[in-house]
Subunit: 346 residues, 2 copies
DNA sequence: CTGAAAGCGCTTACAG
DNA sequence: CTGAAAGCGCTTACAG
């Protein structure tokens, strides 16, 4: 096995020109050749253990066959299904997928350079919750590399696809309302998509039920955010009987904080998290969540990218099918009777 | 801004040859030139918004400046720090990092092709727990692309670095022994690294304390594995008073199963998980863990890769500094007195 | 049915 | 101080 064999070497061994070697490798041109020639070439290919040079191929074809997926907080378990969907759809189209975290995209990083440069990445799928710096975003927009955003954009200068965050929060809220809750809070996220869309869904559900929505408590992401969320709720006049948490890890953090504070979930406080992930099923009490079609989001995103690359951009939009779905577990229950009637007490 | 400007276009605008353009871009050759020329070229570069073509560069330089990191179960929270360490060390050496999951590496995938091919990936960091198929591994080994394994190898034909899994499990076990436990089980993982190393550490600690180790319960990974682990433990004659779990998510799953079964953690059963991740602090009872230097592992792995690429391979080995460390939380407590003396009861 | 040649965009000896 | 040229490994019209 010759480590670095090229088509030239194969051509030499098989006594043909590189054109023919390339032809048997790609099957695009020179399709007609004698079986004997083809066999000789295939033997030589196997003999040297040929692997193509992707850089040369990318340069010549003017496309790398690779797309990048960049998300904020790679460790977010909600991305598991998203990645799977993206991977499957990309493979089906002949693309390799590479992943990265938005924190790697800081100005001047080699990672960013690879995204901005041409030749090694054909397109980018980007999901962020507002923590990415504007400079990096501006860099991206200034490049010809297509970028599809995995979140709703009010100003659709960038193509985007998104799950229905608003509907998800609406469902979560309605689930609580059906349980008789009237004082429901909304906690978590930052000012920006997708948190804002979720808050809007919550407000809509509250308004529909003629209930007063509370202010959006921007506590950020992660378990710590849930802990802070409960602290803020307890520092108010009245502790609500239920809370919608913008993010599943925050919801788990809020659950822990409630346990530590001796607040009984779900009897005194019901909790719903957005995004159904494994951990929701594993904490105690188990967490009621809203399942969002993250896998379908990944598939749609790749389709959008594909359309974009072929010059036929699709309508940006929200994934309607499958719709978000409440997964009821043990963290939600009917509102405590004594509180819904009088609405006081800590 | 001309979307696809090349050095040729810049040279034309500045009235120089591409050699000089390349020189100001890279600063390697043609270092002496008139300030006026340099200024004119820099102006042209800014004017067209030049970005290099990475494929052309990679082809010419015969290196891509990108390393791939492939792990099993991307969603494992223990990787968060590992990725961070790898990223920092790689950036410092001028490499971009791309991530992928081992399940993407199945034969014939475009992702695998990109790893196997030359030109776009200079080297690979690979971590797996035995779930990767041998065929993919054989493919990798047959290529000249350097691979560093992020786990201990008994047969060091591949370079490797690893955290001290054995010491971690030993510490976990000793922590329980200090609490007076004598009947301690070991649950989780598969037959293979790093689970085996952890089991060995457990056995060593038990032997040192003249206690009888139990059999390794191979239940796999993830929360489900912990649930199965508890089921198996309960189906035995005697439920141990403590358990070391090979994997932190499995430990959380075991905690949930214990709660559901009405087994009091930590008063009836103490639980320790390997790997300190955020979730350990957020479940209730919070989970005692052993913290492993995953960030240092990432840094060392990149150093090893760097040495390998420069033809001076380092000694493979275990990261001794910082050493593993027990993070005591609420899932471990002194052994129940009535059980350590009589050792029966369910 | 097969080969010679151009060219993707870059870097780097080499010549002047 | 600057330019012309070769060549990295591939694909693809084009010619025969």
């Amino acid at each position: 096995m010759t480590p670095m064999a090229t088509q030239k070497e194969i051509a030499r061994r098989a006594g043909v020109s590189v054109s023919v070697v390339s032809a048997v490798l790609n099957g695009t041109t020179h399709t007609r050749m004698s079986d004997e020639t083809r066999a000789r070439i295939e033997a030589a290919i196997a003999e040297v253990g040929y692997v193509p040079n992707d850089a040369a191929r990318a340069l010549r074809r003017q496309q790398a066959g690779t797309i990048a997926v960049v998300v904020e907080k790679l460790e977010n378990p909600a991305y598991k299904e998203l990645f799977h969907g993206i991977y499957e759809a990309a493979e089906a189209r002949g693309w390799a997928v590479v992943l990265g975290d938005t924190v790697w995209m800081r100005s001047g990083s080699h990672f960013l350079a690879r995204l901005l440069g041409r030749g090694s990445i054909d397109a980018i799928l980007l999901r962020h919750d507002g923590l990415i710096d504007e400079e990096a975003l501006a860099h991206l927009r200034a490049r010809p590399t297509p970028v599809v955003l995995l979140e709703r954009q009010s100003d659709p200068q960038d193509p985007w696809v998104a799950v229905d965050d608003s509907a998800a929060a609406r469902l979560a809220t309605e689930h609580l309302i059906e349980f008789g809750h009237t004082d429901i809070a909304f906690v978590g996220g930052t000012a920006g998509q997708p948190s804002t869309a979720r808050y809007e869904g919550y407000v809509a559900a509250m308004n529909d039920a003629r209930l007063s929505p509370r202010e959006h408590l921007f506590t950020g992401f992660g378990a710590e955010s849930g802990v802070r969320g409960l602290t803020e709720l307890r520092s108010g006049d009245v502790l609500p009987t239920a809370v919608v948490v913008a993010n599943v890890m925050s919801a788990v953090g809020l659950l822990a904080a409630a346990a530590d504070a001796g607040i009984d979930v779900p009897r005194r406080l019901s909790v719903v998290g957005i995004h159904d992930v494994e951990i929701a099923d594993v904490v105690r009490p188990s967490l009621t969540t809203v399942r969002l079609p993250m896998r379908a989001l990944g598939v749609r995103a790749v389709e959008e990218l594909s359309a974009l690359l072929s010059g036929a951009p699709m309508e940006p939009g929200v994934i309607a099918d499958p719709p978000p779905q409440v997964i009821a577990r043990s963290s939600t229950a009917p509102a405590p009777a004594e509180l819904t009637s009088r609405s006081d007490e800590l």
